[in-house]
């Protein structure tokens, strides 16, 4: 949970900082959701920070994991949608990552995909473990 929270805090803060950048590309509309990238980043940033708070500062473990497992596939669908429309690099969404780490769009894309995969697999596995624990805890009672 700590690692997921850390990743989400990082993502949320970078996206919120991005909102205040003067770059003109953020004023272009996202071809999928039809709102400017700046507003899209603001929504995603706030959502990620809320999720990060859930992960780091509450005991609602199951809810946090479900929300992460719900959010990451949305990213995936959005990314695939962009790809099919000829947007091979989601530049505006990753601009800050590229600039901060001084990496190429290809690399930034790869890092973002790897992190998303980590979050998704991690959250699903954690949910499964949680489920197993709950089941295991409930099983002796049934035998009684």
């Amino acid at each position: 949970m700590l690692s997921a929270g850390g990743i989400l805090v990082f993502g949320g803060i970078t996206r919120l900082l991005n909102v205040f950048e003067k770059t003109q590309q953020l004023d272009m509309s996202s071809p999928i959701v039809r709102i400017p990238f700046r507003q899209l980043l603001l929504c995603i940033g706030i959502m990620e920070l809320i999720l990060a708070c859930l992960c780091l500062f509450t005991n609602k473990r199951a809810l946090s994991l479900i929300l992460i497992a719900w959010l990451v596939p949305i990213y995936g669908v959005y990314r695939v949608g962009l790809w099919t429309m000829g947007w091979y690099h989601p530049y505006p969404l990753l601009a800050n990552l590229m600039e901060t780490l001084n990496i190429s769009p290809f690399m930034a894309d790869g890092v973002a995909t790897a992190i998303s995969a980590f979050l998704f697999i991690g959250s699903v596995r954690m949910l499964w473990i949680e489920n197993r624990k709950t089941y295991a805890a409930a099983s002796p009672k049934k035998r009684d």
Binding site: L2, G5, G6, V9, F10, I13, T14, L17, K22, T23, Q24, Q25, M28, L56, F57, G86, W87, Y88, H89, Y91, P92, A95, N96, E99, T100, N102, I103, S104, P105, F106, D109
Partner: protein, 631 residues
């Protein structure tokens, strides 16, 4: 003793460190994560802020405000006491009248943005009338847009009142006109001009002060060859040059024009006559010619006399451009371009002596003087004084200089504006040559930031630009960027273009190996015709540039090539809104976004191509500097 002292220190430190660690251990892991993330994410804005020079916008604005240029040559009255000239202003282009004795100047007319400004190569000041009552200029306001319905206007100004009258107006454009290429006074109240349709117009001032226009010759007897020079011999007797032949006509008579002198057969291997100067004192013509090998030759022509006497070649010791009679037709002056980055004015006051005076000016690519961006001059007061707009003696921007033949002295009569430079510093480009690893020796220009010290550890961003951007060199340097141009420039074509590409790449590699260059912040820049060459260069060398700055671009870089270069550069496209390219630019930006390239647009409302007003140049420099420093 010392051992004990250090041992005690170590123990005290260990205790203090232990206490701190224990206290920090009480901070939850979640808080630590947030602290680390904030430190990581905040590093970039802080780093960007640290690298940004103080007063960046102010420096850019100061440099932009100081960048003025002259359009066309100044024209002087017959007495040589007043000059009329065109100079860029805060809002556009101004026509000024300057009293040389008092130094006072009067703004006669100002073309202001956002109205259409005159086309730079469609403008020239026209000569003064014989009695010094009038002077004029020709202008075509839609600029470089090739629209046939736009009018070329001939404007006459009253030198006393400043009142202007549009006396001629005709469709299409006069390309690169000069004071004597299509216009000549006949008397103080009449003049002739040839329009784009090859019609000879006679203009006469009426008693009520208006000007009456009559077509003296229509296009059919004039023929197809464009008129490139026209002058008045005496009274109503005029001579003009069409192709390589002079024609003569008495405007007051009903006669048809007669061929006066055909030089095609008299000058061996003559390709074309580039410029003509006429001396009313001696009645001789000075012919600047190009032969079939593009070698410049100069001839003097005395139209009367036998054919063997009337044409003779003038030997010169320097490469020539635009020779004109001076000193009452006893001598001549011309411009030599034999030295790169400099134009030299060569003055030979008397043909009987071989003695010449050489005055070296810096090339000024911002000002359009006469038939190109080359130095030129206006002889006045019977050729006893020369008026030369140009950059002399370590100035950054041009002044109009007066060279007095009698005292052999040079003085600025319209000095370059001196703005209070609070943050920027006046400096000059250093011109050097170096032999590259390939063995080719190339010239280069470099300007370092004012605080530059090659022995310091500080690394500077670099702008590898081209000559059309030289006017901005000081602005870059003052903003902490090393400004460099290499070789002949990206505007070249053919073998010279290939040579420039090779030189630029080798020079980059040299710079990257120096201890004072920040290799992660190397920018490329080009303007206007150079942008095509730079875009070609990027096909073979798409990396390792941090950014590309294109001003008034003609051809933007290929996005697909840049996108596959690993770490593609960001691009700044700076252009005026009046170029009507906004849609194209926004489409290019959207395409770039798709492939992961950041394209920033700096489109200035009410401005065309090129940027003319000081306001527009100031805005351009501000956007360029903010682009370089990531803001």
């Amino acid at each position: 003793m010392i051992e004990k002292y250090f041992e005690a220190g170590r123990k005290a430190g260990a205790i203090l460190g232990g206490k701190m660690l224990r206290r920090m251990a009480s901070i939850p892991a979640e808080i630590w994560i947030i602290i680390l993330v904030v430190l990581l994410v905040g590093a970039r804005p802080v780093w960007t802020f640290i690298q940004r020079p103080a007063h960046l916008n102010e420096i850019a604005a100061e440099c932009g405000s100081g960048l003025i240029s002259f359009w066309g040559l100044p024209t002087a009255n017959c007495a040589g006491t007043k000059i009329a000239y065109a100079q860029t202003t805060e809002n556009g282009l101004g026509i000024f009248l300057n009293d040389l004795a008092t130094g006072k100047r009067q703004l006669i007319h100002e073309f202001k943005e956002p109205d259409a400004l005159p086309g730079m190569e469609l403008f020239t000041m026209l000569p003064w009338s014989p009695d010094d009552s009038f002077f004029g200029y020709t202008v075509n306001q839609p600029g470089l847009k090739q629209e046939a319905d736009q009018l070329q206007q001939v404007v006459i100004c009253d030198a006393k009142t400043g009142v202007e009258t549009i006396v001629g107006s005709f469709p299409d454009q006069l390309w690169r006109p000069t004071p004597d290429s299509f216009f000549s006074w006949l008397s103080s109240y009449s003049f002739v001009y040839v329009n784009h349709q090859q019609e000879l117009h006679l203009e006469q001032r009426q008693a009520d002060g208006s000007w009456k226009d009559t077509i003296r010759l229509d296009s059919s007897p004039m023929g197809d060859a464009p008129v490139s020079f026209i002058t008045n011999l005496s009274g109503n007797d005029i001579v003009w040059l069409q192709g390589n032949a002079f024609w003569r006509l008495d405007v007051s008579s009903a006669n048809a024009p007669a061929k006066f002198f055909d030089l095609s057969t008299n000058i061996p291997e003559l390709k074309k006559i580039t410029r003509v100067s006429y001396s009313p004192e001696t009645g001789r013509f000075l012919l600047n010619c190009l032969d079939s090998n593009n070698v410049a030759t100069v001839w003097q022509l005395m139209p009367t006399g036998s054919s063997s006497e009337n044409l003779s070649r003038i030997q010169h010791h320097h490469a020539t451009w635009g020779g004109k009679w001076i000193n009452q037709g006893d001598g001549w002056a011309y411009v030599s371009q034999s030295e790169p980055q400099h134009d030299t004015l060569v003055i030979q006051t008397n043909f009987s002596t071989a003695a010449t005076t050489l005055i070296k000016f810096s090339v000024d690519l911002s000002s359009y003087y006469s038939q190109g961006f080359t130095l030129s001059f206006t002889p006045a007061a019977n050729g006893k004084r020369l008026f030369i707009p140009g950059i002399f003696n370590d100035e950054i921007v041009p002044s109009i200089w007066e060279y007095d033949m009698d005292s052999s002295s040079l003085r600025p009569v319209v000095p370059a504006p001196k703005y209070p430079l609070l943050h920027a510093r006046d400096d000059r480009l250093l011109r050097q040559t170096m032999t590259l690893p390939s063995g080719h020796t190339t010239g280069y220009q470099i300007q370092f930031p004012p605080s530059f010290d090659r022995h310091q550890k500080r690394r500077y961003p670099v702008m590898i630009a081209n000559q059309y951007m030289d006017a901005y060199a000081s602005a870059f340097a003052d903003c902490g960027v090393i400004y460099v141009t290499v070789g002949s420039g990206a505007h070249e074509v053919g073998p010279e273009e290939i040579q420039w590409e090779s030189d630029a790449w080798e020079f980059y590699k040299y710079l990257a190996g120096t201890p004072y260059v920040d290799t992660s912040r190397i920018y490329l820049g080009a303007a206007c015709a150079e942008t095509g060459g730079l875009s070609k260069f990027l096909l073979t060398h798409p990396s390792p540039w941090k950014g590309i700055i294109l001003m008034d671009f003609i051809q933007p870089p290929d996005l697909n090539v840049l996108a596959h270069s690993g770490h593609p550069p960001k691009i700044l496209l700076s252009a005026g809104s009046q170029n009507n390219e906004s849609v194209l630019l926004y489409n290019y930006q959207a395409e770039a976004c798709k492939v992961g390239i950041n394209v920033e647009l700096s489109i200035l409302e009410g401005t065309g191509h090129p940027y003319i007003s000081q306001r527009s140049i100031r805005k351009r420099l501000e956007s360029v500097m903010n682009f370089i420093y990531d803001n």
